[in-house]
Amino acid sequence: MDYWRKSNKVFLSFGIPPTIWLFAFFLGPLFLVWGLSFGEKQGIIRVAITGTLENYLRALQPLYLQIFLKSFWYAGLTTFFCLVISFPVALAITFVSDRWKPILLLLIILPFWTNLLIRTYALIAVLRTNGYLNDLLELIWQSADSGLRILGLGDWNLLGERFHRFELLYNNFAVVYGLVYVHLPFMVLPLYAALDRMDRSYIEVSLDLGASQWRTFLSVIVPLALPGIISGVIITFIPALGTYLTPDLLGGTDSQMIANVIERQFKSANDWPFGAALSFLLMYLTFFALSVRALLTNHDEKGLA
């Protein structure tokens, strides 16, 4: 890593455009809302910025902390499942021929070019009680049952008297399923970016030295992919924390996430100061999690070096 003065022209030409953009078109707007979080509602529209901490104190009530905790848990579960599914997928993409690579990448991202709402409705059509997944399971059940009948075991009702359709929607399972569905490419793409054309000689050496495939995977491939894993976890976990449409449409009566509460503050409750305070609290908590992560990885890197 260079100290910036060593080639300050390069440093400035890379640094200035994004910095200007960030300040003008992101931090500027954000500052307005940050101010709101220290404000008090006066009447229907007006908010007076009084420097009050009341909004933050209200956001720290057990009611909201409990929802925060739950949201972190579900976002964490989502990230975990995304990682488990994405890793082999990304690995497979990096190992296919160059001809197939763009096709597979595109196939991964293509479902996400249809609108989220439409996709979620389609997901509902697949998962609902009278949906296609249940239809399929019933078909399998019926053939298994008639198979048993042919074997003369029909009277025993080994598979139950009739097929009971699963209630897959409107519960927390559906929320996590939906979140994984929505966030999968956020994990696959950075993993692919990190792994593509990795130096295969490491893997060959490891295998030649007699390490098992699994061992090689853990001690060679995963460390190579680590920057990708970290990036993937960040851009999966955080957006998952902020999603409200998926819990709204797939969740049951107890699937309220913190993003749903925040959304209501900016809409039906018309309480922007409180909404802003909740949003910033969520951001502070996320930063805290990220910095813990940064401390841990720095520690690891030192340990490795």
Binding site: K41, G43, I44, I45, L63, Y64, Q66, I67, A125, R128, T129, N130, L169, Y170, D248, L249, G251, G252, T253, D254, Q256, N260, V261, R264, Q265, F266, K267, S268, A269, N270, D271
Partner: protein, 360 residues
């Protein structure tokens, strides 16, 4: 004269028609004093599928004013969007309580009734409103009820009481309620025998307790898609707006709609002009056009909502006029109320109660 929307792409024809429209306007309307001085444009901010198929084209033909329609999904969105200033809309369509809220927040323009002669087409009952005395700021556009949509073959008897949703285990796991504190809580109040506009924190508390107790029997708090849940068989009873249920009835005869005997929440969507509207003359002309008997009849016939326009209603079929899901009986109406603006403190109370109900 009607114009087929399919001809949109044919520019020459479109311009020709627009010219023709301007001539026609000059002939049929006595030219309003100011409207010709404005550019012939209008920005209409509306709900989706909430206007006649050809209304905007007909209006352009009649007046030469080009209407561009943008869409919002609910009142909260509309309100949030205009709160920081009007980005350029001329006519908006908020519901009754939001009209009142926007009047209080000084967000609406006072209407010039002399430019809306078709006001006289309105049913007498709609020429005045509690939320907007003398209709100073709003014109009624469509109205309706919130009730129970249900699957006839799956209920033991007609669910003519809100108790089926709020206090019964008979339909456990087959019920959907609206995921909206400002509809569901007032209706629960109505069920408990209070007014929809009760401003009493203890009543809110009672509703909260009632709903937390009933929660295990409720399958989902639906995002205004209860009609889809009903149609797909996910639930058998749903709290919904009448118009939504009417639309799925066309698909499935087994679905019915009822306003429970306790009475219900009436809603009314209104046409208003937000402060800062760049084309307020055109906006008045447009409102006047929508209240025209023929134009209003075309709209109501297409979207199948109850029109407050007596002249339009008279032109429509018996089937429409006698549909109990569109026009509830006077008896039901007598027990129902429209919600008023509750004030910001009540709004907060509602929201906190809803957060607790959902978290319980």
């Amino acid at each position: 004269m009607k114009m087929n929307p399919k001809n949109h792409s044919q520019l020459s024809r479109r311009y020709f028609l627009r010219g023709l429209g301007a001539v026609a306007a000059g002939l049929t309307f006595s030219p309003g004093k100011g409207w010709s001085s404005e550019e012939k444009r209008l920005n209409f901010y509306n709900w989706d599928t909430y206007i006649g198929e050809t209304t905007l084209d007909d209006f352009r033909t009649a007046t030469g004013i080009e209407v561009s329609m943008d869409l919002f999904a609910d009142n909260d969105e509309l309100f949030s969007k205009l709160k920081e200033g009007n980005p350029g809309y001329d006519v908006i369509v908020p519901s009754n309580d939001f009209v009142e809220r926007m009047i209080r927040a000084n967000m609406l323009v006072k209407l010039d009734h002399s430019k809306i002669p078709n006001f006289n087409n309105l049913d007498k009952a709609f020429q005045d409103a509690a939320f907007d005395p003398k209709r100073a700021y709003s014109m009624p556009y469509m109205w309706g009820t919130v009730g129970i949509g249900y699957r006839k073959s799956k209920v033991s008897k007609v669910p003519d009481s809100w108790a089926s949703l709020f206090a019964s285990s008979e339909y456990s796991g087959r019920i959907a309620l609206l995921n909206s504190p400002s509809e569901t809580i007032p209706i629960a109040m109505k069920y408990l025998g209070h007014s929809i506009n009760t401003a009493d924190s203890e009543v809110v508390q009672t509703v909260e307790d009632l709903m937390i107790k009933q929660k295990k029997h409720i399958k989902v708090f639906a995002e205004d898609n209860g009609q889809d849940l009903l149609l797909s068989g996910e639930v058998d009873l749903t709290m919904e707006y009448n118009g939504d249920i009417i639309q799925v009835q066309e698909e499935d005869d087994d679905i019915a709609y009822i306003v429970p005997k306790e009475g219900t929440l009436l809603w009314e969507d209104c046409l208003c002009i937000p402060k800062g509207a760049p084309h307020s003359e055109n906006a008045h002309a447009f409102m006047n056009y929508l209240l025209d008997g023929d134009a209003g009849a075309l709209i109501a016939d297409f979207i199948q909502y109850a029109t407050p326009n007596a002249a339009a209603k008279a032109k429509l079929s018996d089937e429409y006029r006698n549909n109990p899901a569109i026009f509830p009986t006077d008896e039901v109406l007598g027990r129902s109320e429209s919600s008023k603006y509750r004030g910001e403190a009540m709004q907060r109370l509602f929201d906190e109660a809803w957060t607790r109900i959902s978290a319980a």
